[in-house]
């Protein structure tokens, strides 16, 4: 049986492909094509995609998985999400603006702290920041850029507005899945590409290499770049290996490197020590150098901070850039953009209550069942309260937590995230999605063409994280001129 789109239930929600039972203009060909396929055929395509993913070894790791099995196949839904190019251009401009401002902000915090002197950003927020690294004060990384790779999560509310939900400036992951999703779609749905020419995503690795190469302390056409991974048991190990492979550079672990007496970083190679210029580190700040941070870290390289401060090696993202990756800092990003760039934000923030402000705190405590309350420094959807889905007891526990440390919490209205048609067996149902584009900053700023669309596979769920039952979709940016 083929699909009856008029019965597709998306009332009161914004669906990315369907509006009132009819396809949006950019989705007409796709929806017609899907409509022409039998349910069994769709299910077979999904099966082929699952098989391709298994064979390609596209995996992610879940910590709680018991013995042996350390990786799971990447969950993927074959129906792509489509965004018109014209809309995407706006989003791109907004993301560039945002990351530019955030880099200025980080650089300011580690130097003169003008934004605090000028009373735009409260000193107490910085004082309580767990990701501010005193070890980085006064350091001037190349091009005054700190967050070279940023993954910002975007969501669309029921009225169609796109908001930034959060910025990931430490070690954002997911870009490899964006690339693999496109490959899988090409394998299992080649005929879709007859009607559509989604803008390519596959130049990301070379853009990433260019970004990293621009930071090299030694001027060279092909500086020595390496990806530093915590190792095979990290949930994003697949991605670390993938990016190293795609960039044609080495994937290293801490034990592969050492810092010499000349403050340069060397790889231990078969030919003896070999100097390294740029490290794309996928290890958290606190673990990169046991001499400077956690002494018990075995993932890092003793002396790495010394080498970085001496300008003998570049590290991306720069240590300390996580200071802007904080949900309370997030709440100040509109002010940060205005302060440094003298511009209005192109993409709005989700309206955010800063619990550190007494009025906001009172409001949040009184309206918890309507709000999403988040701690400042958790990721992966952990440790937050989703008001509408919570019990009274959960709300009371959370209220106590917030009152104890208001600086550490923000609250936002529960958004009705937009949906995309998603395949379940032979049926299609709407499921909520977000979008994580990646922004690269060095001598120039580049944004991925689309990004990683994550989808909450459980009915009604808003949690899109793959560690908590989320899936993903290929994301297409398409020219709609003349269609």
């Amino acid at each position: 049986m083929s699909i009856d789109w008029t019965a597709y239930p998306c009332a009161g929600l914004y669906d990315e492909l369907i509006e009132d039972g009819r396809p949006r203009p950019h989705a007409v060909s796709l929806v017609e094509h899907l409509g022409g396929l039998e349910g069994a055929e769709l299910a077979a395509r999904q099966e082929a995609a699952n098989l391709a993913i298994k064979e390609m070894g596209v995996t992610f790791t879940v910590y709680s998985e018991e013995g042996g099995a350390i990786d799971r196949a990447w969950p993927f839904d074959i129906i792509p999400r489509i965004i018109p190019k014209a809309e995407w251009d706006q989003v791109q401009a907004g993301l560039k603006q945002r990351v530019e401002a955030l880099n200025l902000f980080i650089d300011d915090l580690y130097h003169d702290q003008r934004i605090i002197t000028d009373r735009v950003f409260p000193a107490e927020v910085l004082a309580k920041s767990v990701n501010f690294r005193p070890q980085c004060v006064g350091v001037s990384p190349p091009l005054a850029t700190w967050a070279h790779i940023c993954g910002s999560d975007l969501v669309r509310d029921a009225d169609g507005t796109i908001y930034v939900l959060e910025d990931n400036l430490r070690v954002p992951s997911g870009v490899s899945y964006m690339l693999e999703n496109r490959l899988v779609t090409k394998r299992v749905f080649p005929e879709l590409f007859e009607d559509y020419a989604p803008l390519p995503v596959d130049d990301y690795p070379s853009q990433l290499f260019d970004t990293l190469a621009a930071l090299s302390p030694r001027p060279a056409d092909f500086p020595e770049v390496a990806v530093l991974t915590p190792g095979i048991y990290n949930s994003a190990y697949f991605e670390h290996a993938y990016l190293a492979q795609q960039m044609g550079c080495e994937l290293v672990e801490g034990r592969d490197l050492f810092v010499g007496d000349d403050d340069c970083v060397y790889k231990r190679t078969v030919d003896g020590p070999a100097r390294l210029d740029v490290i794309y580190r996928r290890v958290d700040d606190l673990f990169i150098d046991p001499e400077a941070f956690r002494p018990d870290s075995v993932l890092g390289v003793p002396g790495l901070m010394r080498a970085w401060k001496a300008g003998k090696v570049a590290i991306a993202n720069a240590p300390g850039s996580g200071v802007a990756d904080d949900k309370v800092v997030y709440a100040f990003v509109p002010e940060i953009i205005r302060y440094y760039l003298d511009q209005d934000p192109i993409i709005p923030n989700v309206p955010t209550y800063r619990c550190m402000e007494p009025d906001a705190l009172a409001y949040v405590l009184g309206r918890m069942e309507d709000l999403v309350v988040k701690p400042a420094n958790e990721s992966g959807g952990y440790g937050m309260l989703v008001g509408p889905a919570s019990t009274k007891a959960e709300r009371e526990t959370f209220a106590a937590l917030v009152q104890k440390d208001p600086r550490n919490y923000i609250a936002q209205p529960a958004l009705r995230l937009s949906t995309v048609p998603t395949l379940f067996g032979e049926r299609i149902e709407p499921r909520h999605v977000d979008l994580r584009p990646f922004i690269l900053s060095a001598d120039r700023v580049q944004v991925t063409m689309g990004g990683l669309t994550r989808v909450a596979l459980r009915k009604g769920s808003l949690v899109v994280n793959s560690s908590q039952g989320g899936g993903s979709k290929d994301t297409w940016i398409v020219e709609t001129e003349g269609r």
Partner: protein
């Protein structure tokens, strides 16, 4: 090339070779047993003897029956030398060097491991075993072919070659040792007709029968068989050939002098012995000597090119 990657590549190749070799000895054993008279046939125990894992086997199984031995060698993940565990080891090593090996090779090892795991129940049946093992052996061959045909022949490839041939040399010496020790006593003339069959079995365990015939053009006899399996430099599963391949892999590497000296010693002892004249106990001592040499060679390779073992924590040193 990173020392750690060199090490991983080396182990990747060793595990792959181990998987193939174990699959091969299981594949030929069933056939051999059909050729020998009941009461003389050595049964399945020698296969476990070859791996040297008798203690582990006896801990988990009551007897050396066909079912038990085959399960142990093919699918028991408690045994690191089982085909499934070796393929798993190869896959995990390959996962950490995905930036070095071609993507197709990774997909192939991944598929092969999943096949070995999912189809194991059928591989354990008498009916399904042949097809299962054939698929596995061909799968490993495909990966090796893919690597040879699509990977850069740089340092990484050399370590692959070194690991593969060192593992094979190790396995061949063990196989000859055990297989020949299980032969009939020489002073049993009534079993004369089977003598040939048994040396054929030694060759077949190493997939060497056809090539022996082509190369030696003589009857299958102890002396020429031993000479062929140890000293041929044309047959790729002969010890000499394997060691020579290791040597060729080592030679262009930096700081290879020490490892080449070990190879030199190993080759002198291998080629300076008249293997056809060795008595059974002398043969056993000779194999022991080769095994020690192979172990020394591994240790020297690890010392020269692999990552140094982690330094003991400062506290432990103080206590010491």
């Amino acid at each position: 090339m990173l020392s750690r990657v060199a090490e991983t590549t080396y182990w990747f190749a060793r595990y792959l070779e181990r998987a193939e070799d174990t699959a091969r000895i299981v594949a030929v054993n069933a056939n051999l047993l059909l050729d020998l008279p009941k009461g003389v046939a050595p049964g399945w125990r020698p296969l476990v003897d070859i791996t040297g894992a008798n203690a582990l086997f006896e801990e988990h199984y009551k007897e050396y029956g066909e079912r038990q031995v085959v399960r142990f060698l093919l699918g028991d993940e408690r045994f690191a030398g089982s085909v499934l565990a070796a393929l798993g080891g190869a896959r995990e090593n390959c996962r950490t060097i995905r930036d070095v090996v071609p993507r197709e090779a990774w997909e192939q090892i991944n598929e092969l491991y999943l096949f070995a795991r999912d189809e194991l129940p059928s591989g354990l049946t008498k009916k399904g075993r042949h097809a299962y093992l054939k698929h596995l052996i061909l799968g490993v061959q495909t990966i090796m072919g893919l690597l040879g045909g699509t990977m850069l022949h740089d340092q990484g490839y050399r370590f692959l070659r070194i690991g593969r041939h060192l593992e094979r040399a190790d396995m061949v010496t063990r196989t000859v040792d055990v297989r020949s020790a299980n032969l009939l006593p020489a002073e049993a003339p009534e079993l004369g007709p089977f003598n040939t069959i048994q040396w054929v079995s030694v060759l077949k365990s190493l997939t060497a029968y056809q090539m022996y015939r082509r190369s030696e053009q003589v009857r299958v006899q102890r002396g020429p068989v031993l000479r062929f399996l140890f000293q041929s430099n044309a047959f790729p599963r002969a010890v000499h050939f394997c060691i020579e391949s290791v040597r060729a892999g080592l030679e262009p590497l930096p700081r290879s002098e020490a490892a080449l000296r070990v190879v030199g010693r190993l080759k002198r002892s291998l080629l300076g012995t008249k293997v056809e004249r060795l008595s059974q106990s002398e043969l056993h001592a000779f194999v022991d000597e080769l095994q020690l040499g192979i172990g020394d060679l591994h240790a020297e390779i690890a010392r020269t090119w692999f990552l140094p073992p982690p330094e003991p924590p400062a506290q432990a040193q103080q206590q010491g």
